[in-house]
Symmetry: C2
């Protein structure tokens, strides 16, 4: 097997890339600008070493603290809890949210063996103890796993002093937050509903 075939084998393991797409990409790379191809290869090769998790929110970042957590202009009283780092980008793209994030890196899924302790929920609880947070917005996916996780968090934060809300349904049920269009996502964010309240007026 020559290196082109080995490359195609590797490319076809990427999500959404079948054998024919992999072949198409590999042949395209052979005709592409040499500097671009080498830059792409280097970026992929160095990815595991360069990209870390933000020590506070768990978002992918080149630095110990991510750009959002280290930005004093953001509203540090609000934390939006998402399943995946890509969800952060989806919400950022709406340009309607100015608070911080907390990335769970998954959702509770007992059938797949994902338990609450496999997520960054402990770190979230510690953040709420230390940081001046007033509201937690739960932005898990509107799926069985996302709903389970949201319910778990609501129960966990029952006695916490602040406000807990969740994105308004308006997101297509069964869909994936990352693929929602910006307008729908922005509306769900604006219309978020209070689940419990620190003032007991819930």
């Amino acid at each position: 097997m020559n290196s082109l075939e080995v490359l195609i084998g590797h490319l076809s393991r990427l999500p959404g890339v079948g054998k024919k797409s992999a072949s198409r990409i590999a042949h395209w790379l052979l005709k592409a600008d040499r500097a671009f191809v080498q830059a792409l290869g280097r970026l992929i090769m160095e990815l595991p070493d360069r990209v870390k998790r933000c020590s506070r929110c768990g978002m992918y970042s080149d630095a110990t603290l991510c750009e959002i957590c280290s930005d004093p202009a953001r509203d540090h009283r609000t934390i939006c809890v998402v399943e995946q780092p890509s969800d952060v980008w989806a919400i950022e793209a709406t340009h309607t949210y100015r608070g911080l994030y907390h990335v769970l890196h998954g959702a509770i899924a007992p059938l797949e063996g994902v338990r609450p302790e496999d997520l960054t929920i402990d770190a979230l609880v510690r953040r709420l103890e230390r940081e001046p947070v007033e509201e937690v917005i739960i932005a898990t996916n509107p799926t069985v796993e996302g709903d389970t996780t949201a319910l778990y968090l609501v129960r966990l934060l029952k006695d916490w002093g602040g406000k807990v809300s969740r994105l308004a349904l308006g997101l297509p049920v069964g869909g994936d937050l990352e693929y929602a269009d910006r307008v729908t996502l922005a509306r769900a964010l604006e219309g978020r509903q209070r689940i419990s309240s620190g003032e007991g007026d819930g």
Copy 2:
């Protein structure tokens, strides 16, 4: 812009990969096996240096002579002329052809400025002078450019002593040879039609 965003920017330039697919692939890579990610990066990075064109047929190859050209078990009396290296793989996958290939690396397209001299037609003519070839099978795409190229080759080889044939139409017109299913492609290959004959009985 952090390295993850730079990577997504690069990935989204690949054919068939949009911004969302690029993001999906990048995030998948962040969770993928480290050794796999580094191997993929290295393969891409080294691609321009490792993969050359076979000095005889123009197919991509790690060595000076490709695996097909250097295989004594192949039928060296038949050359199948294709537009792209990926077409070679498509025909190989039918398991019905045992001859050699010649890759033109394109098709004649006057409107896009691709002239006969931009292709490897000269090299093909030299091969026919030196090698014991008895038949040339023209397997260009059934498109305007592919038909133009086929016609050009037929005229060019008019006085050459051997047989010239072309893949049977059976391929969907306007389609791309690379994406034909194996059965259709195998049938087109078996039913190839003689265009001219060295014996003058055409």
